[in-house]
């Protein structure tokens, strides 16, 4: 029973990671790419939570959830900073318009 729930939760987590990967690879808008990355981290959080539930007692998995939540906050803050810097420099919001690094 516990093992079955763990496997179902991990399958859902895999689906979330794959969906986020599709979004991050295919979207052109910078904000939509960030949404894809957030979905990947969302899947990782679910996987860590499921392992905590099935593993019983240990704190390693819940510490991993704390790390992942922090990763999400850092990704979001720096992503917005880069989007803002890019918009200030050339008024673009699509990655295809920002293919060169020259300022």
């Amino acid at each position: 029973m516990t093992e079955l729930v763990l496997r179902i939760a991990l399958t859902v987590a895999a689906a979330l990671v794959a969906t986020g990967l599709y979004g991050a690879l295919s979207q052109q808008s910078i904000v939509m790419i960030m949404m894809g990355l957030e979905l990947v981290v969302n899947g990782l959080i679910l996987g860590a939570g499921a392992f905590w539930w099935a593993g019983g007692g240990g704190t390693d998995a819940s510490v991993l959830v704390v790390v992942l939540v922090t990763v999400m906050a850092v990704e979001m803050a720096l992503g917005f900073a880069v989007a803002l810097a890019l918009y200030r420099a050339r008024q673009v919001d699509l990655t295809d318009d920002a293919a060169e690094l020259a300022g």
């Binding site: 794959a18 808008s29 894809g36 979905l39 900073a81 880069v82 810097a85 919001d93």
Partner: protein, 160 residues
């Protein structure tokens, strides 16, 4: 528990897929929030009440900030002019499906050890771990967040 994980899993993945199919970016933001809330409710059901609540609070605020950024910078935030903003759609689908296949195969084929339930209150245990054996993790996270604050301001500040 199986029904709950299945139902909320379908909600989380379904709203996650809709994020990349709806025209309106604002709508996509709230669908992403729905996906996060579904996962947070699952965490609460697993017994991680504190972390689930933190995720709900953090994501609600984060998605509001994201909506503000869309209105500020994006050319088509409300999706009133339907346009496709994707590149290499089929290649991305192929990579995503291969990754899903590999991860799901791992989820079903690997023999996972499962033990009993947690004895201690998980929030107390997490606090004890973060202030004890996992102190290095906590300090690294704190330093990373400080570096993010400095780096974000340095990158985003106007140069003119």
């Amino acid at each position: 528990m199986i029904a709950l994980v299945g139902a909320l899993g379908v909600v989380a993945v379904g709203t996650g897929l809709l994020v990349f199919t709806v025209n309106s970016m604002a709508r996509a933001t709230f669908l992403l929030l729905a996906s996060f809330v579904a996962v947070a409710v699952l965490l609460i059901a697993f017994g991680l009440g504190y972390l689930g609540t933190v995720i709900v609070l953090m994501m609600t605020i984060e998605m509001m900030i994201m909506a503000v950024f869309m209105v500020m910078l994006m050319m088509n935030p409300a999706g009133l002019m339907p346009m496709t903003m994707v590149h290499n759609r089929w290649g991305s689908w192929a990579i995503a499906l291969v990754v899903f296949g590999l991860l799901a195969a791992g989820a079903w084929l690997v023999p996972f050890p499962t033990t009993g339930r947690a004895a201690q209150d998980p929030t107390v245990a997490l606090g004890d771990a973060l202030m004890g054996p996992q102190m290095l993790t906590m300090m690294t996270l704190g330093l990373a967040l400080l570096a993010t604050i400095v780096g974000t301001v340095a990158v985003a500040v106007s140069r003119r």
